[in-house]
Symmetry: C2
Subunit: 208 residues, 2 copies
DNA sequence: AGATACAAACCAATCGGTCGGTTTTTGCAA
DNA sequence: TTGCAAAAACCGACCGATTGGTTTGTATCT
């Protein structure tokens, strides 16, 4: 009787294996990066989380940096995707500008991704090789945010500033706020500050 | 003939020795942190820069964290001092708000201190002991900036926001801008953005 | 004399990375 | 379809280098 594999015989294809292994390692890397920081995310720690042997890792990656870079690239590319697919129609009526700001905040500057983002960005400063690999992806993300913002926002008549500039200021502001929360923990007053910023911003632009 | 010490006999007092040694180590620590990041600032690297033996270090500090914390504390306290002594009279006439913003930028978010500040702040996230030691000093710095700002800025009639909130938004903005430059290098366009922000801010507050 | 400041050899633990060997999948020839 | 060798996936022991930290001994100051 040629039965189907009973239990321990998944018979996965090599490509399937490869993809799953790399994904598992990348996920564990992000987890370790977020939990222990770039400084504490040792290879042993990552491999332990992923339940992957050293040999397997070596088979798929040429160095630790190679793994970290891939994980960061994947995360950034996903964020870029999200930014590009931002559609104003999804926003509720009423104060749409505030809603947009809030959406941007929760999407990009909250949750475990935020910690990883800061860790990796800062690590790029002192690691030329990592910077070389991630710079284009970072740039792509920034460009996507700018593109989405320019598509969604419209300058009010009489405004004295360009949409792109106001957008950059907004991103800087959110980023500084996020860094604050990374260091000191979440702070409820920041939500009020975002609302305030939306109100100020509303003097110059509107969601269209 | 009891001559004065000819050359290799400085005869420094113990307190003098102690202070100089600790200062030298702290300076080397900041240098290493700025150049190599928290991740790369090893004890060997620091001691090498300072030209200090391992034994001497151990005599003055109980651990690496002890040294790093002291160095960061000193730097933050100095910044706090600077913030507290901020006097609007020093500002030139003309666009005083823009001048104030620019002064804040160059004082706190430019130069080697900035890098160290980010490295240490981020390290605090994943190192509870470091965070415990530096949290009060960080808080003191923030409070000093707020106090100085509140003393220098005056709300214009009809403004809809509190000075403190606008101040916090400004700090967040500068911080996000600084983080950008940390990762991607200095960018001339940011100066124009600061000028723009000063103009927008001028709608609500004035330097008094 | 006694304490403090400093130096250098030394230590276990951990780091990223390598290496020989085993298991699983695959492509091709019989 | 089956047999089988090459290729790819995977494992864990092992490696030299480096980490933060200790220890033992000497010089300098009080």
């Amino acid at each position: 009787m040629s039965v189907a594999p009973t239990s321990a015989k998944p018979r996965r294809s090599q490509e399937e294996r490869r993809r799953e292994m790399r994904a598992r390692l990348a996920a564990a890397t992000l987890e370790s990066l977020g939990e222990s920081g770039y400084h504490g995310a040792s290879l042993s720690d990552i491999l332990g989380r992923a339940g992957v042997s050293r040999g397997a890792w070596a088979h798929h990656f040429s160095s630790k940096l190679d793994l970290v870079a891939l994980a960061a690239e994947e995360m950034l590319r996903e964020s870029t995707e999200v930014a590009l697919n931002l559609v104003p129609a999804d926003l509720p009526d009423g104060d749409r500008l505030a809603a947009l700001l809030e959406a941007t905040w929760t999407r990009f500057y909250q949750g475990p991704r935020r910690e990883v983002l800061f860790e990796v960005a800062l690590a790029c400063r002192t690691d030329a090789e990592l910077r070389a690999r991630l710079a284009p992806v970072f740039a792509g993300f920034i460009a996507a945010v700018g593109q989405a913002g320019g598509r969604v926002l419209r300058l009010k008549p009489g405004a004295v500033a360009a949409v792109a500039d106001l957008l950059t200021l907004t991103i800087y502001m959110l980023r500084g706020m996020a860094l604050q929360e990374v260091t000191t923990g979440p702070d409820g007053r920041n939500a009020a500050l975002r609302a305030l910023w939306a109100r100020l911003l509303g003097e110059w632009v509107e969601v269209g």
